[in-house]
Each structure stands twice: as structure tokens, then as C-alpha cells.
């Protein structure tokens, strides 16, 4: 009898507790709200990281912005000894090295992506895709090390003489040959951004609807004509997005470039000459920057990098997302 009363009392207590919880009161309702608040807080933390990043760089470079203004981005004078700072040599070096990288990497990545998505059988495509991803997994300092001791000397001894002999009439391929150069940085960057472009393009091609391909084939197209008339046009914005993504990687790549580019803040027409990029000069000089203005100028270089990176990332994501919208209908 006593047990019965205890049991009903228990049920009543459970019912009361459930009612409280439904109304959002009580320990468990409180715990739920606390949990929701905690995840919200962590989400907001990510927003604040991005804002903090931009603010820290903006405040950090305030001195330099005040002193040099717009002159900073058009001046070629980088002279820490006299506290004069201009970013143009680095902007030039960043753009040219990234362009070389894209010139080499884009055709190769497109070929790779087409082979992986169109031609290779499933089992081979999976394995090759895995190897391409490994290419992206190798740390950049390892690429830099390989660049210093293997790629650089090889380019100097075997590639640059050929380029000089055939294209030496242009100022691009003239001048003394040393193992650290703009060309070496560009080639190394090409190797490093290729897996990013290739893997995004593979996804984009796979998202091309089956009906598009079948329509082309049904009209009598050969396999290549199918690719040219159905796959490539359909994936155009995705390809452009992938290239911009690769460009973003190339612009911001730091340590490997710092190791092979030679770090000379001069604009030289020759690709055989050493140069420097925004990221490489920050890596080289930041820890040793002695004056406040010096440090502030380096931070402003970082700010330029941040602004460019922001723009490219937004553009790339919009393009890739719109291209992958058809996902699931593909193969």
C-alpha cells in the first residue's frame, strides 16, 4: 500500500516537472537554454575572430597609413634603414608570381579534373583523386625545402637556358641565372595550387547533369565534343571560381615562396631575377622590424593581403556555389 502511494506521488512529481519544462522553467529547461546560449556564443566567437582580425590589422597599420597614405601602394621605395616604405615591389611580385602559377596550373588542373570526372573508371578516379589531395597535404615548408635544393637548381641549369635561347628576345627571359627567382617561385606555386583548382573543378564537372551529357551524345557528339559543348559551358562559372580560389591560395602562400623567391624588393622585368611578395616580406622581416613605423608598414602589407583575400574568397565562393547547385543530378 505504501509503495502504491509512493509510486503515484512519483508520477505526479514527474508530471509537474514535465509541465514546468514545457513552460521553460526548471533545471532542465534552464540547461537547454544554457546550451543554446553556449553554442550561440561559440558561433559569435567566429564572427568576432574575423572582425578582430580586420580591426587588429587596421589599428596596427594606422601609423603607416597616416604617414604614407596612398603613396604606400604606389611607391617602390622599401628602405628600412631610412624608414621609407612602399609596397609596389611586393604587390608586383605577388601578382606576377601568382600569374605564372595560374598559367601553368590551370591547364593542368582542368586536364586532371576532366580525366578524373569524365574518362577514368571509378576505381582509378578515386585513387588518383586521393593522390591529388595528398599533393595538397604536403606542408609548404617541405615544398620550400625541395624548391631550394632541387627545383631551383634544376630550373637554372635545364629550363632557363632553353627559355633564354628561344624567348630571350623578350625582356622576360633575359639576364643572369641564379637558383632563386620569380620563375622558381611561380613554378613552385603552380605545384601547390594545382590540387585546389583540380579538386574543385572535378566536383564542378561531376555536378553537370546527366541529361546534358546524354543530350550531347544523342546528337552524335564524340566524347570530346560532349565535354566541349555540354560539360565545360555548364561548369564555366565553377571553373572561374576554382581559378579565383587557386589565385587566393597563390597570393597568400608564404613560406615556400619566401624560401625560393630571393627576397629582393625590386621590380625587374626578368623572371630569372629574384623578387619578393607581400607574404614573403612579412615572413622575413616581421620578427626583426625595429621601428614602430617599420612594423606598422609590414602590418599594412598584411592588410592589403587581407583585403585582396577577402574579395577573391567572396567572389570564388559565390561562383562555385552557383555552379554546384545542380549537384546530385550528375554522375
Amino acid at each position: 500500500m505504501a509503495e502504491f502511494f509512493e509510486a503515484t506521488a512519483g508520477t505526479a512529481a514527474v508530471e509537474r516537472r514535465d509541465a514546468r519544462r514545457r513552460l521553460g522553467f526548471g533545471v532542465r529547461g534552464f540547461a537547454d537554454r544554457l546550451f543554446a546560449l553556449a553554442t550561440l556564443g561559440l558561433g559569435l566567437l567566429i564572427l568576432s575572430i574575423l572582425f578582430g582580425l580586420a580591426l587588429a590589422l587596421l589599428f596596427g597599420s594606422a601609423d603607416s597609413i597616416q604617414k604614407f597614405g596612398l603613396r604606400f601602394v604606389v611607391s617602390t621605395d622599401w628602405d628600412p634603414a631610412n624608414d621609407q616604405y612602399g609596397a609596389l615591389p611586393f604587390i608586383y611580385g605577388t601578382i606576377v608570381s601568382s600569374l605564372i602559377a595560374l598559367l601553368i596550373a590551370v591547364p593542368l588542373s582542368l586536364g586532371t579534373a576532366l580525366y578524373l570526372s569524365e574518362t577514368a573508371p571509378e576505381w582509378l578516379s578515386r585513387r588518383l583523386g586521393f593522390l591529388v589531395e595528398l599533393l595538397a597535404a604536403i606542408p609548404s615548408v617541405v615544398y620550400g625545402l625541395w624548391g631550394i635544393f632541387v627545383l631551383g637548381p634544376w630550373l637554372r641549369d635545364h629550363v632557363e637556358p632553353v627559355l633564354g635561347a628561344t624567348l630571350g628576345f623578350t625582356p622576360l627571359f633575359r639576364g643572369p641565372r641564379i637558383s632563386v627567382s620569380m620563375l622558381c617561385a611561380g613554378v613552385l606555386l603552380a605545384i601547390m595550387v594545382l590540387p585546389y583548382i583540380a579538386s574543385v573543378c572535378t566536383d564542378v564537372f561531376r555536378a553537370v547533369p546527366r541529361t546534358q551529357r546524354e543530350a550531347a551524345l544523342a546528337l552524335g557528339a564524340t566524347r570530346w565534343e560532349m565535354v566541349r559543348t555540354a560539360v565545360l559551358p555548364y561548369g564555366r562559372s565553377g571553373i572561374i571560381g576554382a581559378i579565383i580560389l587557386g589565385l587566393g591560395r597563390a597570393l597568400g602562400e608564404t613560406i615556400a615562396v619566401a624560401m625560393v623567391i630571393g627576397n629582393r624588393p625590386e621590380i625587374s622585368a626578368s623572371l630569372f631575377a629574384p623578387s619578393a611578395t607581400l607574404a614573403s616580406v612579412i615572413a622575413n622581416e616581421f620578427a626583426e622590424a625595429t621601428s614602430t613605423l617599420y612594423l606598422s608598414s609590414l602590418m599594412e602589407l598584411g592588410l592589403v593581403l587581407l583585403a585582396v583575400g577577402l574579395l577573391l574568397n567572396v567572389a570564388a565562393r559565390v561562383l562555385v556555389l552557383s555552379a554546384k547547385r545542380g549537384e546530385g543530378e550528375g554522375r
Binding site: D32, G43, L45, I46, A137, F286, G302
Partner: protein, 288 residues
């Protein structure tokens, strides 16, 4: 009218062109993978010969003295990555849960966007951020600053994988738990996260592989150290920074050590990458 012979030859040319272009794409794939094998080959041939027991148990020797190793740098890398995980894993998973539960809200979109942008940020810029936020107020390079930079790189990676993985958890599972009277927070942690745990763990391990190989954000935060140090408030050595410093040095002995260090570093990173993919049979992918 086209004569049959011309039609056949045109057909043949088109077919030939198609086959040729397909061969070109295969060749491009081959060419793209050549550097992978070259880099790995050089690493093994140059690194393995410089690798010995001393490398794992000794600290670097001054110039001119042969021998020495990178024991302090190996420990430093583990310490930096460990500290970054301590902050990065819970924050990343929590934020990922938020994104999965509020996929379409304005705030959710904004946070997802911020995570994607931070993910694509050049890592050197994140190094400057860590310098401004941690090194400057402390007036010293420190392991803490290095770990902060690595955590900032790690958080968006973990967030986005968690979100993707949690979205794969069937709705019915969550509803069943709620119907049984399990409170929401416990449903999230012990049903949803638990179900998605393999995927989340994969994401975390891939993020670890990524930050273990970072050099640029450590240059002026953790700074590197030639001596034993595990203090969080002092400069600390890291494998990547040590390899960088030795690689650009003019001394043959140090350059040999750089190859050995690069081999060890690559082995760690690739073991994590390959191990994870092998265990999950290639299903998991980290968003880039």
C-alpha cells in the same frame, strides 16, 4: 551531297580528335602527379640518410659542432598543436552545432560566411593577428601566441566539418530522443554529436594535420627556440620553423638536418591524412 568517303574521313577525324584530347587529359593528370613523387622521393632519399636516434633525443648543436637533433622541435610541435586543439575542438564543435541547428537564419549565414572567409585567409595574416593580440600585450614571443594562431586556423575547419556531419544525422533519431523526454542539450551531445562522432573526429584529425604543417603563422608568435623549452609563456621550437631556419642556413650539416626534419614532418602529416581516409574509406572530406 557529301560523298561517303569524305563523310567517313570526317567521322574518323572527329573520333581521332576526341581520343587525342582524352589522352591529353590523362597526360595532364600524370604530369600533375609527378611533383608528388619527386618531392616524396627526394624526402626519403635525402631525409632518411640524415635520420638517426640523435635526431629524436637531442637538441640542435651550434654551428660547427656535428650531431644534434630536433627533439625540442618535435615536442614543441606537439605542445603547440595540443594547446590549439584544447581551444579549437570545443569551440569548433559548438559553433558547428549552432550552424547545423540554425542553417538558414541570418546569424547562421553570417557565421558560416565568416568561417569560410577565415578558412581562406592567408595564414601569415593570422600570424599578424596573433602577434597583435597575444605577443604585443605580453611583450614576448610565446608558445601561447603560436597556439592561438593555430587555433584560429583550426576553428573554422572544425566548425564546417561538424556542421556538415551533424546535418547527416537523421532527423528521426533526434525526434526519437526528444519524444523519450531527453532534454535538448543531451539530445545534441549524446545523440547527435555521438552519431556524427566519426565524421567530426575525421575533421578534427585533418585539421590537426593541417596546422601541424603550418610555418608562417608561427614565425613571429612561437618564434622558434634552439633550446629545450616547454613553457607556454616563452618562445618554443616547432618542427616546421626549425626546418625553415635550417633550410635557409648556409651550413651543410644544418641543411641535412632540415631534410630529416622535413621527412619526419611529412610522415606525421601524411600518416594522419592517409590513416583517417583509410579508416573512413575516403568518405570524409574537409571543406576547403
Amino acid at each position: 551531297m557529301i560523298s561517303p568517303a569524305v563523310a567517313v574521313s570526317r567521322e574518323f577525324r572527329r573520333k581521332l580528335k576526341s581520343d587525342l584530347m582524352i589522352a591529353v587529359t590523362a597526360l595532364a593528370t600524370l604530369l600533375a602527379l609527378v611533383p608528388l613523387f619527386l618531392v616524396l622521393g627526394y624526402l626519403i632519399s635525402k631525409g632518411a640518410s640524415s635520420l638517426n636516434l640523435d635526431f629524436f633525443i637531442r637538441t640542435p648543436r651550434p654551428v660547427g659542432e656535428p650531431g644534434g637533433g630536433m627533439a625540442n622541435a618535435i615536442v614543441g610541435t606537439f605542445e603547440l598543436v595540443g594547446m590549439a586543439c584544447l581551444a579549437g575542438v570545443p569551440i569548433g564543435i559548438g559553433a558547428g552545432l549552432y550552424l547545423a541547428e540554425h542553417p538558414l537564419s541570418t546569424l547562421g549565414r553570417a557565421i558560416r560566411f565568416a568561417a569560410d572567409i577565415t578558412m581562406g585567409m592567408p595564414s601569415i595574416v593570422i600570424g599578424i593577428f596573433a602577434y597583435a593580440v597575444v605577443v604585443r600585450p605580453m611583450h614576448e614571443f610565446s608558445a601561447l601566441a603560436g597556439a592561438f594562431a593555430l587555433a584560429v586556423i583550426m576553428i573554422p575547419l572544425v566548425t564546417r566539418t561538424t556542421e556538415e556531419m551533424v546535418k547527416l544525422v537523421p532527423r528521426e533519431l533526434r525526434e526519437a530522443a526528444l519524444a523519450l523526454g531527453v532534454p535538448r542539450w543531451r539530445t545534441s551531445l549524446s545523440i547527435v554529436v555521438r552519431t556524427a562522432l566519426t565524421g567530426i573526429a575525421t575533421g578534427v584529425i585533418l585539421a590537426i594535420a593541417r596546422i601541424a604543417g603550418e610555418t608562417a603563422p608561427l614565425l613571429f608568435t612561437a618564434f622558434g627556440n634552439q633550446f629545450w623549452s616547454t613553457s607556454v609563456t616563452h618562445p618554443i621550437a616547432a618542427l616546421t620553423v626549425q626546418v625553415y631556419a635550417f633550410a635557409i642556413s648556409p651550413f651543410a650539416d644544418w641543411q641535412r638536418q632540415a631534410w630529416a626534419g622535413a621527412l619526419v614532418l611529412t610522415c606525421i602529416v601524411l600518416a594522419l591524412e592517409i590513416g583517417v581516409r583509410w579508416m573512413t574509406s575516403g568518405a570524409a572530406r574537409v571543406p576547403r
